[in-house]
């Protein structure tokens, strides 16, 4: 039996649980707030007093320059991430459909692509707003960045044109080209999009780890400034994170449609789409921490001061919040898989194992979220002998956290394996040996990862951080080896039951919403950390921030700004979902009066 909320959602009076009247009030308030900002007199953009003719800063009314830049940049990034990520997995799904001949994949890829058109316009609009704000509010910084990167703007614009051409030809050309030509367009769309991101990444990473400039800040080498120490780690980290984020938002779209679906066919389709979107998100999430380690290591290598500010100093507590968010992501991803197993006939035999998986996940989550320096009263600190707890303190360092994350990843992978096997029984003669081999690989890798984690406490810090590499490699080896055995072991497997697509509880769909929301929140938080760790520098060590905002806001304030940004993003993305759903609606027809004549009001 389905929960009552989706039924209510289906009623016209309600939208996301709000009545039309309340929606109207909320919309009115939002519109009023926007009007205050947009219609504020131009004098409100007060110049900084230092030089009336050429001010270094101008002040934005009401919320201030920093907040408006912060929110706009983050919204632009979120939409850009989505627009760059969706074509990546859309084209892969299209290729799977083309190779396998299964039309469902083609339809799914098209459904994902439908979300792109409006999102692209939003991204461009927010990008334009970001540029205008930068020019108006931070003219001195803009001048300096132009003195370094002006020649990179032209290829950026050229690639943007190409992006528009490839995106719209890919979207509008669906089914109108030869499949190979269409796939080629999709691949070109991805290449061009990645190129755009790489250029923009050079600008922002230069602000953190400037290179290729003289001691007085003049450009010496554009290539060195472009390929500064943080550039490639950010590129890789963003590509992976974009896929995870894009997959989660696409899964949230599927959940949105699932909850409003009228027929079993629709429910089955959107259930499947949600599953694929979530699979993409979690598959990309698994290697993301490793890309993050590399990024952190390069920041530390560039400047000990930046590294400490990031991981041990002012911003270290944001990493505890990040650990809680990502721990919740893993928990929600596993939860979705466990709930999904309810719709697979035969999967109930794996149900008893879930409690053990949960214990491991919760244990790893607790280790990951344990801070190094604890918030404690004086009395508590005295009992502990300092800010570090003699027992828990050992959990607060990278050795313990790396170990916990790696085991968390392996546990999530195990949940997926159980899901995959739900309605299948192997028919190969070596199935028992295969299972034993898989268990042996799992156990040996967990023992190896744990051993390295413990060993890390007995070696010098940089060696300890280096141990994360064999930990990561062993986990990747485990996933590849176990998957390979599984693929061959379950080839020609006997199907023991059906997958009843569409027969999912509503709470599984809310888990998808939660995952998308948490991804967005994490992205906003870490975006703030990446920019904020420069503290009172626009360009670290080169161009100092002398504005009224040259201070680091409190964690609570920063969290509030990030939260509001995420809320705005989801309001925008709800508009995207609505617009994307319009194409499937019936065409407008005039209402028919009782006498058979068309009326003035259109039929709903």
């Amino acid at each position: 039996m389905r929960d009552p909320l989706p039924q209510r959602l289906g009623e016209s009076r309600y939208f996301w649980g709000l009545s039309r009247e309340r929606l109207a009030v909320a919309g009115g308030l939002l519109a009023a707030a926007a009007a205050v900002l947009l219609l504020a007199p131009i004098e409100a953009f007060a110049s900084a007093p230092q030089d009336a003719a050429n001010p270094a800063y101008r002040e934005f009314p009401v919320v201030g320059s920093r907040v408006i830049m912060w929110v706009t940049a983050e919204l632009h990034l979120m939409f850009a991430a989505f627009v760059l990520a969706v074509p990546m997995f859309a084209v892969i799904i299209e290729i799977i459909g083309y190779v396998s001949g299964d039309k469902r994949y083609d339809a799914l890829a098209y459904e994902f692509t439908k979300l792109l058109s409006v999102s692209f316009s939003f991204t461009a609009s927010l990008g334009a707003m970001l540029t205008f704000l930068l020019v108006v509010l931070y003219p001195a910084l803009t001048d300096y960045l132009m003195s370094i990167f002006s020649w990179t703007f032209f290829p950026y614009v050229a690639l943007f044109f190409l992006e528009a051409i490839f995106l719209y030809s890919y979207y509008y050309g669906w089914g109108k080209f030869n499949p190979k030509t269409h796939i080629f367009l999709g691949i070109m769309l991805n290449l061009v999009g990645t190129g755009i991101m790489f250029i923009a990444d050079a600008w922002l990473t230069f602000m953190n780890t400037p290179a290729g400039i003289s001691e007085t800040g003049e450009l010496v080498s554009l290539s060195a400034a472009f390929m500064n120490p943080m550039w490639m780690p950010i590129n890789i980290h963003r590509i992976i994170a974009n896929i995870a984020f894009g997959g989660s938002v696409a899964a949230a779209y599927a959940a949105f449609q699932f909850l409003g679906a009228k027929t079993d066919e629709e429910r089955a389709h959107y259930d499947w789409m949600g599953y694929i979107g979530n699979f993409i998100a979690i598959a990309a999430l698994l290697p993301l921490p490793f890309a993050g380690y590399w990024l952190g290591k390069e920041i530390y290598a560039f400047s000990q001061s930046l590294g400490i500010t990031l991981m041990g100093g002012t911003f270290s507590w944001l990493f505890i919040i990040q650990a809680i968010l990502i721990g919740n992501l893993f928990l929600a991803a596993n939860y979705y898989l466990w709930v999904s197993m309810e719709r697979i006939e035969g999967a109930e035999r794996f149900r008893p194992y879930i409690k053990y998986l949960l214990i491991v996940i919760a244990g790893c989550f607790l280790v990951w979220a344990t801070p190094h320096s604890l918030v404690a009263s004086v009395e508590e600190a005295r009992k502990m002998g300092g800010a570090h707890h003699p027992v828990l303190g050992v959990l607060g360092v990278m050795s313990a956290k790396n170990t916990a994350v790696n085991i968390l990843i392996l546990t999530t992978f195990l949940s997926f394996l159980l899901y995959r096997r739900g309605n299948k029984a192997p028919t190969v003669s070596w199935a028992k040996a295969g299972n034993i081999a898989q268990i042996a690989i799992f156990v040996s890798v967990v023992v190896f990862v744990t051993f390295l984690g413990v060993y890390g406490y007995f070696v010098e810090a940089s060696v300890r951080i280096g141990l994360s590499v064999p930990q990561v490699l062993s986990v990747i080896f485990c996933m590849i080896a176990v998957t390979t055995i599984d693929v061959f072991m379950y080839r020609n497997a006997r199907v023991t039951g059906k997958i009843k697509w569409g027969q999912m509880s509503a709470r599984s769909q809310y888990a998808l919403f939660f995952i998308a929301l948490t991804f967005a929140w994490t992205m906003g938080l870490m975006g703030y950390v990446r920019a904020g760790m420069r503290q009172h520098w626009h360009v670290y060590g080169v161009l100092e921030d002398t504005s009224v905002d040259a201070f680091t806001p409190t964690l609570g304030y920063a969290s509030n700004v990030v939260s509001i940004t995420v809320l705005i993003f989801f309001v925008f993305i709800a508009i995207v979902f609505w617009l994307a759903g319009l194409s499937g609606k019936k065409a407008w027809e005039p209402a028919v009066k009782a006498g058979g004549e068309p009326g003035e009001e259109g039929a709903e």
Binding site: G386, V397, E460
Partner: protein, 270 residues
């Protein structure tokens, strides 16, 4: 660790297994088991801030477990309804209805009658060092300079031992009063400070830092902490006023030698 408390928790959980309770009772039992473990099983006790975070995670995990399967969800719903409606549970229900408000009242009472205490330290973090510091007219590059006597460890062990001995002298003449005989942050004056002095025996303090960082903290002390992330709380004097550069590098050698730890090596950009 309080072994007796841990054994008692395990015994209760094992005993519960024989009673075959409902999923709701299991979930509650697990919640209290973790709560008791965090509060009474670990010595010294875990700070309240961490316990709260742990319990939030455990609550989410237990909710996920109960709702991840239709059968468990149904069982939980039925047992909750039965608890509130069945005559069989009348006495436990009354006990719960009385106990919960009493617990809340007790919590309010105990929080209103505690002795005044300084607020919890909400931000205990490593201060970020500057890229360079000026030491008696000389610029020390904290990112790239190394301890000038560290190489003697491999090149001339006798000279290295002399520097360590000099560091020992400096430590026991100047630092021992706060950081303690054993460098555990428990010297004679330690009780007068908030936060208390750093515990160098903790493998997560000086072992996590490069020697340049220690040079900066010793030379500049509390007054030299950065302008960012203020306010700082440190009673550490600026030892550049009392010690030579060599004495500071020597005492750093001694800190690592005495605690049998290695300084963090510099990261190499790849």
């Amino acid at each position: 660790m309080n072994v007796l408390v841990i054994l008692a928790i395990i015994a209760v959980m094992v005993a519960l297994r024989f009673l075959k309770p409902t999923i709701v009772v299991w979930a509650i039992a697990w919640w209290f088991a973790v709560f008791a473990m965090a509060n009474y099983g670990i010595d010294p006790p875990v700070p309240t801030s961490v316990t709260n975070m742990f319990m939030a995670i455990v609550t989410i995990a237990l909710l996920a477990y109960v709702t991840a399967a239709e059968g468990r969800m149904r069982e939980a719903g039925e047992s909750l309804v039965a608890f509130f409606t069945s005559k069989k549970y009348f006495i436990p229900l009354v006990i719960m209805l009385v106990a919960v408000p009493l617990l809340v009242a007790f919590n309010v009472y105990s929080s209103m009658t505690t002795q005044p205490a300084p607020p919890a330290a909400g931000r205990t973090i490593h201060p970020p060092p500057p890229a360079t510091v000026s030491f008696k007219g000389r610029t020390v590059d904290l990112n790239n300079d190394v301890n000038p006597y560290r190489h003697l460890e491999d090149d001339d062990s006798e000279a290295f031992a002399q520097h360590v001995d000099n560091g020992r002298r400096v430590y026991y003449e100047n630092c021992v009063y706060c950081h303690g005989d054993n460098m555990a942050g428990d010297g004679h004056f330690a009780h007068g400070f908030n936060p208390i002095p750093a515990n160098f025996q903790d493998p997560t303090t000086i072992a996590m830092l490069q020697e340049g960082y220690l040079f900066w903290r010793i030379a500049k002390g509390g007054p030299g902490l950065p302008v960012e992330s203020t306010p700082w709380a440190s009673a550490m004097p600026a030892w550049e006023l009392f010690l030579s550069e060599e004495e500071i590098w020597d005492v750093i050698l001694f800190l690592y030698d005495f605690t049998d730890q290695r300084p963090r090596a510099r990261e190499v950009h790849e």
